[in-house]
Amino acid sequence: MKKNDMILILVVLIVGIISYGIVNAIKHNDESNLKVIIKHKGVVVKEYAFTHETQKTYVLDSEDEVNVVQIKNGEVSVTEANCHDLICVKTGAISKPGEIIVCLPHKFTVEIVSNEMLNELDDIVE
């Protein structure tokens, strides 16, 4: 390995850490008025208001694609799925606005958003 390789690795590492910091800073602001939005193939299939007391289980079952979403104790997680990589299950629980669980094989996402973020996202899409 040359010296330039080390520099490049260091730069990538620093950029990665800084951008992680930025992403995290955006995530943590507004903690009220949260919503859990469940989407399948880009379409919202379910929305729940999300507070610490919310207790819900949502089961997606369409064309042999199964994902089970559990909301309890202020956390959201995908507890079961039949996709091939199971990244959605391995992601674990999310609890903050801006966090997302993704199941790429099923085009399935579970996200926590605040109202504020929802408006911003609409602006980006438009």
């Binding site: 040359k2 590492l13 951008s19 995530k27 880009g42 990244i87 801006g98 899409v125």
Partner: protein, 175 residues
């Protein structure tokens, strides 16, 4: 050797075909490996070994052929539409990034650096397509993780590609 105008160089044709076949097999092997990452879009990127080797020995047009043929044939044999879009965007983006770097910084950067950049662009391409397919920009918040994951996978791919290139040079197959 006498060159006929417009004739196909058989050595090159063989090299391109073998690289395409190797790329397809590596992609298939990668699919069977258990996925150690918990970040969507992250991949080991074994096919990048082939892309890097192609760029090293062939010109841009020919290495594009290697990448595109691999992507199309993989999709036709064991792919779906979305997996085709993922590998197309990842493959083309890493091809362009690595070919550009190799051309401009051939003396300054080793294959390891080039393959790290290749891994980053490969992952980014896949994540951007994923964001479009699932209609969700929030997935881009995984980009920082992909940057960091690209370091070990890029080093691994770079080392393997270097070994393959050195071996091919020794066999005297490529002149």
């Amino acid at each position: 050797m006498r060159k006929v105008k417009g004739a196909v160089d058989t050595r090159k044709l063989v090299l391109i075909s073998v690289l395409v076949a190797q790329g397809m097999v590596l992609g298939y092997i990668e699919k069977m490996l258990p996925i150690p990452f918990i970040v969507p879009g992250a991949k080991l990127g074994l096919a990048n070994i082939i892309t890097l080797t192609a760029i090293y020995f062939l010109n841009f047009k020919e290495s594009s052929a290697v990448v595109l043929l691999r992507v199309f044939l993989t999709a036709a044999t064991f792919g779906s539409l979305s997996s085709f879009l993922y590998s197309l965007s990842g493959g083309v983006l890493s091809l362009i990034a690595m070919a550009g770097l190799l051309k401009v910084f051939k003396d300054e950067l080793s294959l390891i650096s080039i393959s790290i950049i290749g891994s980053i662009s490969h992952n980014m391409g896949q994540l951007i397509v994923a964001a479009i397919i699932i209609h969700n920009v929030l997935i881009l918040t995984y980009l920082p993780f992909l940057l960091i994951i690209a370091i070990p996978t890029g080093i691994f791919v770079g080392i393997v590609a270097r070994a393959l290139i050195q071996y091919l040079q020794k066999t005297n197959f490529i002149r």
